[in-house]
Each structure stands twice: as C-alpha cells, then as structure tokens.
Amino acid sequence: MKVLKDLYYTKDHEWLKVEGNEGYIGLTDFAQDSLGDIVYVELPNVDDEFEKEEAFSAVESVKAASDVYMPVSGRILEVNEALLDEPALLNEDPYKNWIVKIELADLSQLDELMSSEEYEKYLEEEV
C-alpha cells in the first residue's frame, strides 16, 4: 500500500496535507483498496464546520457505505466536486484526489495524528 511522506494520517485511514492553517483531506490507498470500486461520494457544504473525528463525508462502494471523519476540527473551504460525477477518482489516485479543503481550527490537534512512518507501522500491525 502506498503511503506518502509529509502527510498526517488517522486510524480511520484519512490523510491530511497541511499548508499554513489550511489543509486537504482525502482517503489513503489502504482505504480505497479496502472499499473496492467507489461508486458514490457525498460531500459537505462549503462553510460547514465539523469537530475532529466527526463524519463530514461518506464514500460508498457497491458493497457498503463508509463515513469519512475529520482528522482535525475545521471549516470547509472547498469540496472536490469532480468526485460527484467520477467517484472512481478516489480509486485511481487517492492522494491526488482530495475530498475537501479546510481551514484548521486548532493547529495543536496535529500532534495527535500519525506521521507517515507511524501510519505504515499501524498498517503492518493492523493487517
């Protein structure tokens, strides 16, 4: 499974790429592979605010629906609308195809997330 350097990771297999006090959130390669063919993505509205670990989106394969959770608290700045018509983009390149762009509410929450090395180790232990 591909794990990119310089991203933050959650136990629920979301990634977070931080630029200043803004960030992009997506699903990891492991997540897209476990789900299989993704056929549906539900997106939040711009300006919606979510707490850390709150579900802000849902992705669905033919087989099942899964919530996507906020790695940190924040406000939605942008949603990736291309996913509405082409949910399979998340399978094709899960790191390029982010789901939402957010404004982080509290940068200190980053300390609670995993680094790429920690996430790789987590995957080895979990799988």
Binding site: V39, V62, A64
Partner: protein, 365 residues
C-alpha cells in the same frame, strides 16, 4: 466457532481473492472487482465457489411424506431428477430457511441449504422427524460445489463433458456425469437470474473442475466471481436472501414467496395455519422494490418513512451494476406498498425521495 476453509480456499488465494469471513467460512468477496465480475455473469459467464452451502440427505420409505410435512412447497409435484425451491417454516410461519430440494427418487432427496443455517436446519429436521421412517444425514463436509452462471455457461461446460448438457432442463439435475474426467452431479439452477449450472463433487474433485473451468472458459470471458457479485446478481433478479427478505421474523408471504407456499396441498405442513390465516385476512406488511428519485444509495437497515411516519426498513439496497440505478427492497406497511407510491429513505439522517417499483428490476428495464 472456528472459521472454515472450503476445498477451493487455496485457489482463491492464488487468484488474489479478497477473503472475508462469511457465515463461518473464509470466502472471497471479490477477485479483480465486484462490478467486472457482475458484468461477466450477465454478459458471458462467472463461476462461484459455493462449497459453503449445506447439503442434507433425506432417505427412506417416508421421505416424501416427511418433506411434505416439513416444507411449504408441494414436494409431491416433483418427478425424479427435478429441483424445487421451498421454504422450511416454524409453527408461527417464520422461516427456518429457504432451500432447494433435489429429488433423486421417491425415497431419496438432497436438500441444499444456506451455509449459516446448516446446523440449525439439521437440528430442526431431526427435532421434527417424529415417527417418519427416514434417515437424515448432514453430508455438507463431503460435498464441494461450484456455481457456473451466465449466458455462455453451457457452451463452456460442454467442452469438459461428453454428456449433452442441453438435455438438462431448467431446475433439473443429472447425477453421475463426468466433467473433466471426474464424477459429479450437475443441476441447471442458480442464484443470478441467468442460465447456468451448479456442479457438485467431492472436495478433492471440485478443485480439478474449478481449475479446468478457469482454463477452458477464459476464451469465452469466464471470470471467477465473489460473494459481492453473488449478492448484487441475486438482488437484481428478485431472489430473496435469508436474513434480509425473509427471516425468523419475516414470513414467506411478506417476502413475496407465495408461489412456494402451497396451502392447497393435502398435507398440513409446519406453519400452514398462521400463514393461511394471514393470507386470507390480508398481510400487514410486505417486501417491495423501490428506486431512488434523488441522489443516494439505499442500504440494508435504513429506515423508510412516509409523511414523517416510519413505515418500514430497507432489506437490501445497491447501486445496481446492471441498471446503473440506486434501487432496493424494503419491508413496509401494506397501506403504503402500492406501485408508484413515493416514500422517503433515511440516508444518514436525511430523508431522500424514492418511488415504489416492481422488485423484478431486470424485467422492468
């Protein structure tokens, strides 16, 4: 309970199958992808390992009388080498299991039952044996089974046998024929809505047949298919799955299976009285099909509402790979079960509009 491996487990691993624990068995949910496997079955052919299914033999002088008492369908209507779908009910009309009856002769039948229910069914059958002169035997561990499904099934399987497969009609069986040199039973049955066969052989022989089929079927587009596609295929074809459209709590009439409940047969079968009464007085709820009118995929367990009032729940739901529509089955109040009625499916706490349509989704289109 320890999760079991079918005789084909090693083959699934070699093929890159994504293994899950299903009904106490390690089985592939998919190989290269659910949608591709689903499409292969609709257009060409797919093969499934269904060795997890239970097989229970009923033999003896009273075999027919016993099955007439135990099962809802009319077993006396069967000839030799025929197959019949039936339900096995509790005295209150709830479903013990749904199954296929294979008639070898008037005194010999094979029941093919759901994997998760095999032990329960066997015990139920023993508990209801009464004074019938029969032997009931659970032979599940001695049988491997492959389902070969799709329009090209006959063409592919014919390459592995001298027996004229076109002589096996729908819902008929043939025993002791040779497929790729090993002895097996073949029935023209399946769980996908397509033409196809189910092949029964010993655990050792089923591996030989599996690999021969894979090899010889490739040029016709045959793919190994997993549990994921098995469920989407049966759902599109309006076939029930135990624990969803029928269960201990949902009786066969509510599940739309009246065709397999024969009140008119001479013998009083287990569950007949309450079912007959319900049928005459009118059902209170039933399983309907529906199509989403707004964006969203319905899923099992989602609640169904009408004008803010809860009227039932979803029993199965998918983005249908064949129809590319979001469709489902739901068990709802009979007053709201009319075709064309608009209902709301609660998806992540939001009501999303849907319309009731026939459950025969493939025929609708």
């Amino acid at each position: 309970m320890v999760t079991k491996k079918t005789p084909l487990y090693d083959e699934h691993i070699k093929l890159g199958g994504k293994i899950v624990d299903y009904a106490g068995w390690f089985l592939p949910v998919q190989y290269e992808g659910l949608i591709k496997e689903h499409e292969a079955v609709r257009k060409d052919a797919g093969m499934f390992d269904v060795s997890h299914m239970g097989e229970i033999m009923v033999k003896g002088k009273d075999a027919l009388d016993y099955l007439q008492y135990l099962l809802t369908n009319d077993i006396s209507s069967m000839g030799d080498d025929q197959v019949l779908y039936s339900l096995m009910c509790y005295p209150d009309g709830g479903v013990v299991d749904d199954l296929l009856v294979y008639r070898y002769g008037q005194e010999e039948y094979l029941l093919v039952v759901n994997a998760a229910n095999t032990e329960k069914d066997f015990k139920w059958m023993i508990d209801n044996k009464k004074d019938f002169n029969i032997i009931i035997e659970n032979i599940s561990n001695q049988v491997g089974e492959i389902a070969l499904q799709g329009p090209k099934s006959e063409k592919i399987l014919q390459k592995l046998t001298d027996y004229d497969l076109s002589s096996i009609k729908y819902f008929h069986l043939k025993r002791d024929i040779e497929i790729s040199g090993v002895k097996c039973m073949v029935s023209r049955t399946g769980y996908t809505g397509e033409d196809g066969f189910e092949i029964f052989a010993s655990p050792e022989d089923i591996v030989i047949i599996w690999n021969k089929l894979l090899e010889i079927g490739k040029e016709d587009g045959l793919k190994p298919a997993g549990l994921g596609a098995r469920d989407t295929l049966r759902f599109e074809a309006a076939m029930p799955l135990y624990g969803h459209e029928i269960s201990e709590e949902v009786n066969p009439l509510e599940g739309g299976l009246k065709f397999a409940v024969k009140f008119e047969k001479e013998v009083d079968f287990i569950g007949k009285e309450p079912l007959k009464k319900q049928w005459e007085e009118g059902l209170r709820r039933k399983v309907v099909g529906f199509e989403m009118l707004e964006r969203g995929i319905p899923r099992e367990g989602y609640e169904v509402y009408k004008n803010g009032k809860k009227i039932g729940y979803v029993t199965t739901g998918y983005l249908s790979p064949t129809l590319n529509k979001n469709i489902g089955n739901a068990l709802i109040d009979i007053d709201e079960a009319k075709l064309g009625n608009q209902i709301d499916i609660m998806i992540r706490n939001k009501p999303v509009k849907a319309k009731i349509i026939s459950r025969k989704f493939l025929k609708n289109s």
